[in-house]
């Protein structure tokens, strides 16, 4: 039946599509100057980033530390030696990766 064919096509279209981006994730990290780094997160629409997963990785991609944004949407960690990166991960399409070299005092 033609109608069913159309319906199936619509469903197929939906299946292939991936998850959309909605509000933009925001994350800024600051070097506190005492050997620690603090990251502040949020979303463009003003949503809190509390509970969002944070991962610190070294230059080779090995995980150094994992944690979550606290109630104030902040996450602090000891500054690693050498190259590193911080990932703010609020789900697919909502990730921000910040390189250590771009985090300044």
């Amino acid at each position: 039946m033609k109608f069913v064919k159309h319906l199936l096509l619509l469903v197929a279209f939906c299946l292939v599509s991936s998850l959309a981006v909605a509000h933009s994730p925001l994350c800024d990290c600051f070097d506190n100057g005492d050997g620690t780094i603090t990251c502040e997160g949020g979303f463009s629409d003003g949503s809190s980033a509390s509970g969002v997963g944070m991962t610190v990785k070294d230059g080779a991609g090995a995980v150094l530390q994992e944690g979550k944004m606290d109630a104030n949407s902040e996450f602090s960690f000891p500054k690693p030696e050498g190259d590193y990166s911080v990932t703010f991960d609020a789900g697919e399409g909502h990730q921000v990766v910040i390189k250590g070299e771009n985090i300044v005092q």
Binding site: L7, A20, A22, G93, V104, Q105
Partner: protein
């Protein structure tokens, strides 16, 4: 005097050619259709020219057509200039014939003669003039040639009237037309109000507006209508097709006939490239596949790539926020001055929407490409067969895509885009279901709930919510068109299939920018107004004195603790208790100045500026010396306490506010859907703008995190277990939730009726509540888990969709005649 013509015939250039810059733009009374009028002088006499909306025909199917027709009928222009595209005369003549039928003097203006010449098309203007018995004037509107002749013809016609009135010969229908014409003209009072032959034809066409007209003017309207029905029935049995189709076919045949007699086309008509392309694009099997691929590309570029662009552009909006922040009065420790909190709230509401601009820009540009290339009408043609079954129209495609067929759209441009749908019933149905699509702002809430309650089935849950909306919208559209919209006018699918064009960058850009600008203008003003109202609703009444005193005491304790640390260091005497707030703000400012800076040299420059501004504060913030380090730690404590106190205060104030009270009042009703009063508050604030739902839930209820504040923990602990079933009911309610306030206002503008706006808000709320109740209460009674209930509901929706598709809709079926599958004809009826 009035100017009429089909879209894209160069009507505007002719209008400008005649009136120059002297024009005045207003709306036709009671509708949003633009009315442009101007003046010019013909043979020394002043003439007022009104530009009628561009229409293909003069039925009462679309707003534009009705406006144009009513103007001719009631304002009785002395003459009408009918602008026709000389290079495409066959189609344009369809309107010309109907204008003649209305009994007004008509000057046929053959415009775009240059294009016709370039294509080697010859038009015999003199022959046409003799045939119609009315003046025919060729012009090239773009170059302004032919203007004097046109003005002269208009003046002469207005004075003398046409040589003879041209009338279409309807053959076997003529006796019927004559009989009804006599009946209609029998009443002398009614006879003067409208042309009787025209009304007779319209009545035979079963035109609803014509019936209304008759009822208003004719003393024996009921008897006449009865006779009309009887004659229609008799004609249908005698001729084997309905009177309205006979009329349409006769007009089309006559157009083709006139075209053959007076227009010469170069050589034998060869199969154009467009025709060849159409045999693939509109193919029964290849067509839908191509369509799906194009939609997929549209989605990938606008939503996925656009989302990435939006992120890159965000610093612009972020700096707009911090710029306003700098202009407003400084923040307080606990409370900010009203001007600051209201100002920041408003700016943030606006930037939340501006953030979507890159996505919409890409979407509008891609749609302009689809339109300019000529694909859009073909897409509508392909989907018309499917959408018809649900009371929608081929041209509902664009609004539904804009609304977010899968995930990521916005109801506002979607409702705006329904303007193009010529079928009144389908247009309203589309307006009413477009907000049920998944707009961008609903997604954050979905994400929160899915990651919290369906973490193990996240992909499937996202697929579920993204597609179930379509399976809810389609049956609802059908149900609406079978019930509340039953009496609305429905139109056959008539759409011009223009040849394919290569879109130009300039044209696409201009159109995208125009639409973006329209969107920004309409939305930003509305959002500002709404933001102010919502601000009041969630901030007042303020907390009681006792609570405020409690917070003040906690603030003082934090400051005292900090001062105790100060006194232990060399900063003793250099920082006073009243400096603490300034120090906290200093730290904040310094941080935001360095936000996004990734270059140490620039950061150092910013540091130096702050060091100069206040060396003492700088020493603490940047941890200078042993005392600086010690005090910095204490400062962090103060900052955290301040954040916590402010957050808790905000939550507490929200609960006590007008909105909070309303949320509590609704709890007895919503408990069956699994919503407690806290969720009610979040949903109420989401009505203002969908973005708020996630923000509110996140900020107040800690669903999105482990929660840190004592108030949040207390609330979560006091709340009975929130299960996946609750989450599912909430997601479905959100999907069906009424359009947000800006979208509702757009509904009001497009339907031109507050009643429809209220209806759209009301029915979606009730439907959402009913579905949420069904899923929650039903799921609990049957003992289903969240995932089980999800798929059970999905099956129900798919079944409803298939069921609804099988219910025949008489008018739609009857009207989609055999010609629907002939796009190359130009007009499918």
């Amino acid at each position: 005097m009035a100017l009429a013509g089909q879209p894209n015939c160069g009507k505007t250039t002719v209008f400008n050619m005649l009136t120059g810059a002297r024009q005045h733009v207003a709306n036709y009374p009671g509708v949003t259709v633009e009315k442009k009028s101007g003046r010019f002088s013909a043979e020394g006499r002043p003439v007022e020219l009104v530009d009628l909306p561009g229409t293909y025909s003069l039925t009462s199917y679309s707003l534009e057509e009705r406006v144009a027709r009513d103007f001719i009928l009631y304002d009785k222009p002395r003459a009408i200039i009918n602008v026709a595209d000389a290079s495409n005369l066959k189609r344009n003549l369809y309107l010309t014939l109907q204008l003649f039928e209305m009994g007004v003097p008509v000057v046929l203006n053959l415009n775009m003669m240059d294009v016709a010449e370039r294509r080697g098309i010859g038009v015999d203007a003199r022959g046409l003039q003799e045939y119609f018995g009315s003046p025919v004037v060729p012009t090239v509107g773009k170059k302004g040639s032919g203007a004097p002749q046109l003005k002269a013809a208009v003046a002469a016609l207005a004075d003398a009237g046409p040589a003879r009135a041209f009338a279409v010969d309807y053959g076997p229908l003529e006796p019927f037309v004559a009989e009804i014409g006599d009946l209609v003209a029998a009443d002398p009072q009614a006879a003067g109000a409208y042309p009787s032959r025209w009304l007779a034809i319209k009545l035979l066409e079963a035109d609803a507006e014509a019936a209304n007209l008759l009822a208003r003017h004719h003393p024996e309207a009921a008897e006449v209508m009865e006779r009309v029905q009887a004659l229609r029935a008799r004609f249908e049995t005698e001729a084997g097709l309905s009177a309205d189709r006979h009329i349409a076919f006769t007009r089309h045949r006559l157009c083709a006939d006139i075209f053959r007699r007076f227009v010469t086309v170069p050589g034998e008509k060869r199969r154009t490239l467009s025709d060849k392309a159409d045999s693939f694009v509109c193919h029964r099997f290849a067509g839908p596949v191509i369509l799906v691929l194009i939609l997929l590309g549209l989605y990938q570029i606008s939503i996925v790539f656009g989302g990435w662009v939006a992120l890159q552009v965000w610093p612009v909006w972020g700096s707009l926020e911090s710029f306003t922040e700098g202009l407003l009065p400084a923040a307080g420790f606990l409370d900010d001055p009203l001007l600051r909190s209201l100002g920041m709230w408003t700016v943030k509401s606006v930037t939340a929407i501006l953030n979507y601009l890159p996505i919409f820009f890409l979407l509008f540009a891609l749609i302009a490409i689809l339109e300019d290339s000529g694909y859009m009408p073909r897409m509508a043609f392909i989907l018309d067969r499917l959408f018809r079954r649900f009371g929608l129209h081929g041209q509902s495609t664009l609004p539904l895509i804009l609304g977010g067929v899968y995930v990521g759209g916005c109801a506002i441009p979607a409702v705006m885009a329904t303007k193009a749908i010529p079928d009144e019933r389908a247009r309203l149905a589309t307006i009413l279901v477009a907000p049920m699509m998944n707009c961008l702002a609903k997604v954050p809430l979905y994400l929160i709930l899915i990651s919290a309650y369906f973490a193990d089935h996240a992909g499937m849950a996202m697929f579920f919510i993204a597609t179930v909306t379509l399976f809810m919208a389609l049956p609802v559209a059908k149900a609406l068109s079978l019930t509340v919209l039953r009496r609305r006018e429905s139109a056959p699918f008539i759409m011009e299939m223009p040849p394919y064009h290569l879109p130009t960058a300039g044209g696409v850009l201009r159109r995208a920018l125009e639409r973006i600008w329209l969107f920004v203008k309409k939305i930003v003003t509305v959002v500002v107004a709404v933001a102010v109202i919502v601000f009041m609703l969630i901030n007042f009444p303020n907390l009681g004195r006792e609570r405020l005193e409690d917070y003040a005491a906690r603030r003082d304790a934090a400051v005292d603790a900090f001062m105790a640390e100060v006194d232990k260091t060399s900063f003793k005497g250099r920082i006073a208790p009243e400096d603490v707030l300034a120090l906290v703000l200093f730290e904040e400012d310094m941080k935001s100045a360095k936000r996004g800076v990734s270059d140490q040299a620039r950061a150092d420059a910013i540091n130096a500026r702050f060091a100069e501004a206040n060396p003492v504060f700088y020493a603490v913030v940047s941890r200078e010396g042993k005392d600086g380090k010690a005090l910095n730690r204490a400062l962090k404590g103060v900052i955290n306490t301040r954040k916590e106190l402010r957050r808790n205060m905000r939550a507490e104030r929200f609960e006590a506010s007008f909105l909070g009270v309303a949320g509590r009042a609704l709890e007895p009703l919503t408990q069956w859907a699994g919503f407690n009063w806290r969720i009610n508050i979040a949903l109420l604030s989401a009505f203002a703008a969908k973005e708020n739902s996630a923000a509110t839930l996140g900020a107040i209820y800690g669903i999105d995190g482990e929660g840190g504040g004592s108030v949040e923990q207390g609330m979560l602990a006091g709340e009975e277990g929130f299960t996946p079933l609750h989450a599912l009911a909430l997601m479905l309610f959100m999907a069906l939730y009424p359009p947000c306030i800006p979208a509702s206002i757009m509904v009001r503008m497009q339907t031109n009726s507050s009643k429809w706006m209220l209806f759209s808000i009301g029915y979606q709320t009730l439907l959402g509540l009913a579905v949420a109740t069904l899923v929650f209460t039903g799921g609990r009674l049957l003992g289903l888990s969240g995932v089980q209930a999800m798929w059970a509901f999905y099956g129900l929706c798919v079944a409803a969709t298939v069921g609804m598709a099988l219910i025949p809709e008489k008018t739609a079926r009857e009207l989609s005649g055999p010609q629907t599958r002939q796009p190359k004809e130009g007009i499918a009826s």
